[in-house]
Amino acid sequence: MPDGPVVRIKGLHKSFGPLEVLKGIDLEIEPGEVVVIFGRSGSGKSTLLRCVNWLEEPSAGVVEVDGIRLEPGQRTRSRREHIREVRMRCGMVFQEFNLFPHLTALENVMEGPVTVRGLERTTSRRLAVELLGRVGLADKADEHPIRLSGGQKQRVAIARALAMEPTIMLFDEPTSALDPELIGEVLAVMKALATEMQMTMMVVTHEMGFAREVANRMLFLHEGEVVEEGPPSRILTEPQDARTRTFLAAVL
């Protein structure tokens, strides 16, 4: 793994038809950094996140993950392979969990190692059991997602992403679909990831408490541009930009 930023984004533009959602983003994330991205809905924050693992293809710009460089272009076989490699280095956690309903929690977590990484089943199982234990769900290994609460599902989703041993974890509003009393258990796991594993994390969220405690840096996105950037101690107490102030006033 090369030294230097885990993620390097230069001049990222994304348009959906006539609507320009990202208007030129530059961003570098160092190893071990936790970056929280926040902003109004429609500001482009989810799109930015999804451009990192190429679930959205940028209209222009460069995305480099772990030294692998991607630019928009033809979907040739070699490019598809590069995209896959990038995705294997990014672990993604979705707002709607997106667990595989026909598999148990354990099988969900094992799926990546077995099918994508090609590991042996026994090795994968051991890894999966350990990960489920780390997120506090060892006893739910043989349950299907339909029998799990929202918070439990999201923790399984985190374990599933971790099973790929990624260099960076991407969180797309991980607690927005949860009932309030279940949010805490998920945030606790995310905090542990940062503090105990020093995992590099890029988190799109409204949970400012989490940001204050865990984030190294916060980015405020407004209409497709980074309006303000800085450590949570400053951003949350003394936002410089008027737009940041307005938004935070409404949220906090």
Binding site: N53, L55, M92, E96, H102, G112, T115, V116, A161, M164
Partner: protein
Amino acid sequence: MEVEKQIGGAGEIRPPGVPDEDLSRWQRAEVASLRVPFRVKLALVWLGVITVLGIMFVLVRFDLGWMAEHARFIFLGIPFTLLISVAAIILAVILAVLGSLARLSRNPIAFGVSGFYVSFFRGTPLIVQMFLIYAGLAQIGGNLRTMGYAWGELLILDSLLAGILALGLNYGAYMTEIFRAGIQSVAHGQAEAAQAIGMTYGQMMRRVILPQAVRVIIPPTGNEFIAMLKDSALVSFLGTVVSQMELFRRAQLVGIADFRPFEALILAAGMYWALTTVFTFFQQRLERRLSRGYVRAGSFQLGGGAAGHAG
């Protein structure tokens, strides 16, 4: 003393204690009927329908003796009906898997060919397709052979094979749409999650999308099979030989041999009805079993098999 007003009837005021005989006949019947359980009423209705059918039967004056004598021979066509249907449904499923993936593909060849296939085989009658494959393909094959291409021979299919091929192609076209809808019904997020952990298209389909789509696809596929049991009768129009005769062909030939076509057809109809009833029963069991574990007990669920099949 309070005088209670009776609801219903003429709305007239009656002193209490007046016997029920004064209630209108209809009202009395309604009240009594409420006490009879639904099951009993249902059984009575069935009895009524069967009685009416029985009377019709007697009036037509079918030769019941003849029917009893020849029922067994006609019945022995059922294994062939099943064989045709099973072979054809397998072909149809294979075509539907390929076809549905092609309909969802960005590849112009796959998309174009599958579009043509679906349009043609859903847009022409099954019996026409059968004759085209039996006689038309053979004509091509014969001409090819005359031109010197010996492999043209392969296009000259016997009746059973031609029939199975036509059934498979026809049902495959309808089921392509069923399968496509099934695949698309799998939430988009599933594909994203699969891609996010780095799966290839093939892995995603095999491990995530198709297993979930199968659950949606099985009930309408079961319905298609039941429809195919009936359409298998059309194979007889290609002139199947003794060793291959399914239910309808047997009834047709036996009936004509003894100048009793209707008796034979009634027997055949009864047997088809029994066949489809049996399979429908198993189909419903299967549907219930499939939704276990996916649907919380007691929650509302729609019946399966939404896709219709013409003819």
